[in-house]
């Protein structure tokens, strides 16, 4: 669940899909969006959310319904196995670091390289 930003609109039925909502959602999705792409994205999201409204979304938004207590399980797993530590270089286990980094765009000295995120001058 994404909780970084909150939208308003729970009091007034399905939200109007507008450019601002698309920009906000794109920020949450860590997805750059060009201004020129926004009108089409608005149109497509509106269409899809209209389809989804068949589920009775509008009335729930108005009543502030919660999903608490909703039975979620559509899955057939009846019992989860205990966790088992995987052994080194076995599938699922710790890997040779160089093999791990082999697909990274920038890999140096056994580490993924990112832009500086803390400190700096």
């Amino acid at each position: 669940m994404v909780t970084g930003e909150s939208h308003s609109g729970t009091d007034s039925g399905p939200p109007p899909i507008d450019a601002e909502l698309v920009r906000k959602t794109a920020r949450l999705a860590r997805l750059e969006i060009d201004e020129a792409e926004i009108p089409k994205m608005v149109e497509h999201m509106e269409k899809i959310l209209d389809l989804v409204a068949d589920l009775g979304i509008g009335s729930d938004l108005q009543s502030g319904a919660s999903s608490e207590g909703v039975e979620e399980s559509s899955l057939t797993v009846s019992e989860w196995r205990e966790d088992v530590p995987a052994t080194a270089n076995q599938p699922g286990g710790p890997r040779d670091p160089e093999a791990l980094g082999g697909n990274a765009p920038d890999w140096r000295d056994g580490a993924f390289v990112t832009p500086r995120v803390v400190g700096g001058d």
């Binding site: 669940m1 994404v2 909780t3 930003e5 909150s6 939208h7 609109g9 729970t10 939200p15 909502l21 698309v22 959602t25 794109a26 920020r27 949450l28 999705a29 860590r30 997805l31 750059e32 994205m41 497509h44 999201m45 269409k47 899809i48 959310l49 389809l51 989804v52 409204a53 068949d54 589920l55 009775g56 979304i57 729930d60 938004l61 319904a65 919660s66 999903s67 909703v70 039975e71 979620e72 559509s74 899955l75 057939t76 797993v77 009846s78 989860w80 196995r81 088992v84 995987a86 599938p91 699922g92 093999a99 082999g102 697909n103 990274a104 765009p105 993924f112 990112t114 832009p115 500086r116």
Partner: protein, 498 residues
């Protein structure tokens, strides 16, 4: 099929994998000859259709030599000894790349086999290449792959369906091999129906998802696309079963259920014909074919009763919320740091957003946006919570219906294969492809699609049957009995097998 270059006699092009194994056992050709010819099929027909994106000639021929050596020395042979197979681009293999047909994963090497692939190889099957698909398996027309479109072998101006469009086009155009696909909302069954192939979406959890690039984790299943249901049965029996590396996988009992008495030899005697699958929204020729097959089933001794599934009309909307929510979460890992494309930036957030903008195609970006929206604060309860509630209702209705009948029968697609480019600009037109297939994924039940003749335009028609959790093999028994009645499925498209 004539002589191979080595002097052996090759199987006919429409032969199934099981027939190919009998051919090899009889010594009519060597595995090297067989695999060598199949690699040429991939390089010609497979590439021409856009279906084969990688051909693993060296490793496949080496495996074929080992198989011939095993056979010559009398060593134990596998259940799929010498049979060629391909894996969809979102299924990890030790050789080649596993890029999920996305620019984001261009050049990604998994360097190890998914559990399904490893189990197949352990029984002698030979990986010959990777098949095209929609980007991250999101699509119903195979028009969103960064490898390009796939063409339907029955009419090359039309789509093969999706997302496992490459696998279906290969299965529909030439025999011998089987092809691994994945099905999140119909991605095995719909392309199988469009291309005249047999496709199985197993019970959720029956086949390990380890090594499958995740799209919608509560919906995804790896399954086979084959010439016929017997091949699917064999492939499933090798791949299935619990895997310690996928905690959601489990063993299912393959034993017949108690509803079948020992005196009863018909698999799935009571069949429910889903009335919502026969409405005006469905192409009349497809509806007509479904009714004809119903008569055929009655003649074979089945009871067919009409069953109404009132939740079917909500299934597509429910699926759009759940699948996009899970996709936005699963695809959050592609960030330009650990794998794939990176757009350099001094700012980490900007690096993420620019890399993801560049790496993902338009359909994937749209689904990430929608999924992010339905999970965002203020909307999660109304959209995702509501969809989970509806999913529960759908599942309950399917399971109740399957208490009264052994399987539920419907068309696979509401319409015939459409022209390339016809639906690509309208997401709702594309999502309409899924209306009859998503229910099985939402309920987690198995569903098999088989070719059931052609429409007046010569395009394949596919019908599907859903069964209870774990009833995969009984469904395939039913499909086999139908295919034994009418072998129209054996036909290959004109020119498709060259």
């Amino acid at each position: 099929m004539g002589e191979s270059s080595g002097g052996g006699v090759l199987p006919t092009p429409e032969s199934t994998s099981i027939e190919v194994m009998a051919h090899l056992k009889a010594g009519k050709c060597t595995t090297v000859e067989l695999i060598g010819h199949y690699l040429r099929v991939l390089e010609t027909t497979g590439r021409d259709l856009g279906a084969a994106v990688e051909v693993h000639s060296d490793s496949a021929l080496a495996a074929a030599q080992e198989s011939d050596a095993r056979r010559a020395s009398g060593k134990p042979l596998g259940k799929l000894e010498g049979v060629p197979f391909t894996a969809k681009m979102n299924i990890s293999t030790a050789e080649g790349t596993t890029d999920a047909a996305s620019g984001m994963l261009r050049g990604f090497k998994a360097n190890e086999d998914s559990t399904a692939v490893a189990r197949l190889r352990a029984e002698g099957a030979i990986l010959v290449g990777k098949s095209n698909c929609d980007e991250f398996a999101m699509g119903a027309s195979n028009e969103s792959s960064h490898h390009g479109v796939v063409h339907n072998p029955w009419d090359r101006d039309r789509v093969p369906g999706g997302s496992s469009g490459g696998a279906a086009a290969l299965a529909g155009s030439f025999g011998w091999a089987f092809h691994l696909g994945s099905d999140t909302g119909g991605s095995i069954r719909q392309p199988a129906a469009f291309c005249g192939a047999t496709g199985l979406k197993p019970t959720w959890g029956r086949v390990s998802r380890r090594g499958l690039v995740a799209f919608g984790s509560s919906l995804d299943q790896i399954g086979p696309l084959t010439r016929d249901a017997r091949d699917a049965q064999l492939v499933l029996s090798v791949m299935e079963g619990g895997d310690p590396l996928d905690a959601t996988s489990q063993d299912f009992d393959s034993v017949k259920t108690p509803t079948e008495t020992s005196a009863e030899t018909i698999s799935m005697k009571r069949i429910g014909l889903v009335s919502e699958g026969l409405t005006d929204a469905i192409d009349p020729e497809i509806r007509q074919r479904a009714l004809e097959v119903t008569e055929q089933l009655k003649n074979m001794g089945h009871e067919v009763v009409e069953v109404s599934l009132s939740t079917l009309s909500k299934a597509n909307a429910c699926y759009q919320v759940i699948a996009t929510a899970e996709a936005s979460s699963n695809l959050a890992r592609f960030d330009g740091i650990h794998t794939g494309q990176r757009v350099e930036s001094e700012d980490l957030e900007e690096l993420y957003s620019k890399s993801r903008r560049q790496g993902f195609g338009a359909e994937v970006r749209r689904r990430i946006m929608l999924g992010t929206f339905v999970l965002s604060s203020g909307y999660i309860d109304a959209y995702y919570g509501k969809a989970q509630q509806v999913r529960h209702e759908i599942r309950q209705e399917i399971l109740s219906a399957l208490d009264t009948v052994d399987s539920l029968m419907m068309p696979v697609s509401p319409f015939a294969p459409f022209k390339i480019g016809e639906r690509v600009s309208d997401p709702l037109a594309l999502y309409a492809c899924d209306i009859l297939t998503v229910t099985a994924n939402l309920a987690g039940v198995p569903a098999v699609a088989i070719p059931c003749g052609f429409d007046s335009g010569g395009l394949p028609i596919g019908l599907q049957w859903m069964g209870k959790h774990g009833d995969d093999h009984r469904l395939l028994d039913l499909a086999t009995s139908l295919q034994d009645q009418d072998d129209a499925w054996r036909g290959l498209p004109p020119g498709g097998s060259q």
